[in-house]
């Protein structure tokens, strides 16, 4: 297997095309992960990855968009984008009731979200070769979930980019995120508005190419 793998990598190199890397988009709920995944997918494939919502835990199953080719500075990077459910340590259906959701639906959503977190954690362990960690730059990044996940990612020696999302909002504080995780590169952006996407793609190509 090792020989075959090496051979394949060599051939890929000859054609300046590498095997797609599975890049997981992780982060807490409502950070804008799916919005980012859709932005990237639309920009480079024309298709979306999944529905976006302001209601937390809209993404309750990891979704993958394969063979997303990103060209940057004459270099092409092909990645599989894995949009994951927001990771959290608590899921409570009551938080969905505020969004005009019936209790039964809220309970169901809660259960699915919990399953989604379990799945996301499994993917992180088994199936991801790089991580885009998306944070809502209007919120405090010093949370147990963020610290734990970043720690896990670091323990895996996975390449990671931290995206400070929602810079279009007034309360956005990118520096707070950069200060929270100084060991990693923080890229500000607004996935919703498409702000600073050039730098986003440049960093993706740099880190995951």
């Amino acid at each position: 297997m090792g020989l075959l793998t090496n051979l394949r990598e060599s051939i890929s190199g000859l054609f300046s095309e590498s095997e797609p890397k599975r890049i997981g988009i992780y982060g807490p709920p409502n950070a804008g992960k799916t919005t980012l995944a859709n932005r990237i997918a639309r920009d480079w494939t024309g298709d979306a990855v999944g529905p976006e919502s302001h209601i937390p835990h809209e993404t309750r199953r990891a979704r993958r968009k394969e063979n997303v080719e990103i060209e940057r500075n004459g270099k092409t990077v092909t990645i599989d984008i894995v949009d994951t459910p927001g990771v959290t340590t608590k899921v409570d259906y009551k938080e969905f009731l505020d969004h005009d959701m019936e209790k039964n639906d809220a309970v169901k959503r809660s259960r699915e979200a919990t399953e989604g977190v379990a799945e996301a954690m499994h993917w992180l362990r088994e199936d991801v070769e790089g991580v885009i960690y998306v944070l809502d730059s209007t919120t405090d990044p010093f949370t147990q979930v963020n610290t734990m996940l970043i720690g896990i990612i670091e323990s895996q020696d996975l390449p990671v980019l931290i995206f400070a999302n929602k810079t279009d909002l007034e309360e956005s504080d990118v520096k707070r995120i950069a200060d929270a995780f100084p060991q990693h590169e923080t890229v500000p952006l607004s996935a919703l508005e498409g702000e600073n996407m050039d730098e986003v793609y440049a960093k993706i190509a740099e880190y995951f190419g």
Binding site: T88, T89, Y93, T114, E115, V117, M121, H122, M148, I152
Partner: protein
Amino acid sequence: MPHECTNCGRTFADGSKEMLSGCPDCGGKKFQFRPAGADSSTDSESAADPSTDPANAPAGGTEGSDASAEEPSRPAEERARPGEESARPAEERAPWPGEEATNTTSAPDAAAPSDAPDATAESNTPAPSDTTAGANTPAPSDASDTAGTTPASDADPVGGPADAETADPEAAPSPDAGREDASPEDAPPETGGDRPAEAPETPDAVATPEDTAQASARSDVVSPDELPDAAEPADAATTEGEPDIDALREELNQQFESIRILNPGQYELNLMELYDREEYIISLREDGRYVIEMPEGWGAGDDG
């Protein structure tokens, strides 16, 4: 093999968690605990009845109060500690009751009640004369789970089981009692008096199979006869104690739980645990069950 399924006879090593969700072979939920030292037949049955004690106590008190009065007191002292209790069946049981009641005749009964928690109680009541008490005692304690400790204690003390058997004959007012055992030394004296009274009751119980006896014992006052019978079956050992199992399950949950279901729709997640596990949960159910995906399956479907 301290634990044995009372239904199919499958045995489990001490500390085994296999039976936490019922017997893997037959689904049975009743298990019998046999301390290493204890003989099978001896005693164990009594254990089953822990619950009964309270009830018994009252009954016993009335019946055997006389004889028991003194003895109870002893037991009380000894019983103070579970382990010890097991050692002397008859007496020990008395202790609790005894402590309080030492004085009164009721002591014997009282003891039983106190024991009841453990299951031993029953045995006491009957035991006095029968020895069943003795036999039971050991078992009871085991059953409770303390298991580990108790067994040993049983062995030492009066030799609980063994003694019991022999001893009772005297006490044996009731035929059954005699055969079972009864710790000779302790039991006889005490029980002797008590049992007679109880004995009458027992007859009924006796008729029923061991299991039945156990069952009834838990909820009802133990009748002398029942105890003996139960003892023979060895049911006593049974750790039915669902409480114990529940406690163990809770302990396991705390150790291994990756998702805690607080209420339907409310969950707490242990991210590190979820991350560390090879398998992952793909379907939750509100009753606490879940479906997992194993690594092989995952890999297979994944790359498609």
